[in-house]
Amino acid sequence: MSTQLDLVPVKPTTAIVGADDSKRSGRSLWFRMLVNDRVAACAAAVLALVFLTALIGPMLMGHLATHIDLDNSNQAPFTLAHGWANVLGTDPLGRSMLARLIVACQTTLSVAIPAVVISAVVGSVVGMWAGYYRGWRETIAMRVADVIMSFPSLLLAVVVLYVFSPSAANIVLVLAITRIPVYLRTARAESAELSSRIFVDAARTFGASGTSIITRHVLPIVLPTLLTVATLDFCYVMLAESSLSFLGIGIQPPDVSWGLMVAQGRTYLHTAWWLSFFPGLAIVITTVSATILAAWARIATDPAQRWRLTVPQKRLSRFAKTTKALS
């Protein structure tokens, strides 16, 4: 690793990422940039752990989440006296908090990830289409986005989930619809800017159809920005789903979600603080990691800023001096 980072500190404008060609390849470049930024690498590791837990955790510990053991109800955390599974305490029915957190992880992510994917795909496709063709398509798409954005998402979710009773599918749909404008606006802006570029003009002259231009030229350039937005949006969707479940109109019992666990633990705040604290902490850890990763992605996908991630961090201070802004 150290040989790869052994770049001579040149002035930022002339730093060429991967100048030592022998070690350059697309994927290892991203990996190097991630490892170089320790905080972002930490955040990525945490997120990977969360996804892994959501995938295989319930298979391993799912039965403990429904195993009611009234002798052990409301046990305090941080002690192994009641078995290693109860290391984070137990809930009023004696179920292990750790197991419930893991099962809730799967439920929460199984609502958040489809919502993000659906809104990203629909919003990006419509945005790129509207931005490429301009004209009435752009106007209509922007109007629709304005209408959706002008209304607070929670209210929309509240009314919709009241009318069509709450279920995981309805929640995913409502959250997806409220987040579409974010991708729509970003994709449209980028696509509109790209549609006036020379290479797109050339493709049009060769007779390429609009669809193929969008998929072959516009999409690969817009994709990194959209991924950054999607990472940040994942954070927001998780918070929205947790809020809905907390208010009682999201995931319904006996299904379990982190927001729902916080709500259920609220009545025991005086006696069993861990019932509300740990699920909330899980949410915080996941969302903060997603935010940090999104900030890293914003720098990594911008070719003009990328040099910051290729210079070893302790040499970065040479280019980013701590001075007063007015000197």
């Binding site: 109007r143 304005d146 209408v147 002008s150 998402s153 009318v163 509300s276 802004a325």
Partner: protein, 309 residues
Amino acid sequence: MFSFVRRRMYTSALPLIIVLLGVFLLARLTGDPTNLYLPESATEAQRQAFAEKNGFDQPMLTQLFDYFKGVVHLDFGTSLRTGESASEMALRAFPATLQLAFTTMLLAIVGAVVIGCWAAYRPNSLADRFSSLLSMTAASIPDFWFAITGVWLFAVLLGVLPTSGVDSGVLSWILPIATLMIRPLGVLTQVVRGAMVSALSAPYVRLARSKGASDLRVVTHHALRNAAAPALTVAGDLAVGLINGAVVVEAIFGWPGIGKLMIDAILQRDFAVLQAAVLLTAVSIFVLNIFIDACYALLDARVREPARV
């Protein structure tokens, strides 16, 4: 200036009308609107009587006309729970939310300006990095968890603040405002810092310094005005999102505002009150957007109609 505001009113009226239509259609989308108003155990005869009384058996266009007439007269029906007029309940609960939201936004803006300016004044310093980390965390924390942890820490463990309600004077405002404030504060700090960094590197700042202006005057009098415009746009978006936060905060702290009214209406299946509350919120967002745009036009002359020569 006024023609600008008038134009913005026309374009902002469209989302409002769509929301009104949307609520109307949504209530009738599931087939039988009485399902929303009446409890599950209502008999067929009761449903029939209710439908006749409220005009649900009329043709759709008549219903639409009556609905819009009701909206204009602020008549959204009566609450099934208390029997009062739904719009009266909503209007009574509204000022409490307004007070909360206004105070929060004010404190968030002041805090963000101070911290953002300080961070931009000394970029890449420890204070700057710390404030960046804090603002990033603040933008990702779930507000309901922050509220509950705050209640546990200050009310249960330390006993210095009340757990809920509005009776304890200033003390009962502290936790709700703190909870509502973290997300706007976090986002606004980052925006103000970014805008101030680019404003402070502008040539007019260098000129002001060379004329001998003090640092404070340069930052506040010259740079801040140019950084205010993007910050204002973001503040406007955040004010809309504040309604989301207000619903949660009012539910946790029992604040008698419109958010709590909505949640209670949902949990007790009182659709008339829910409708009134949602529509009142939509109207207030409409007014707020107009206000933000007017402020933006006041600040930045380029946004207004160019003067005719």
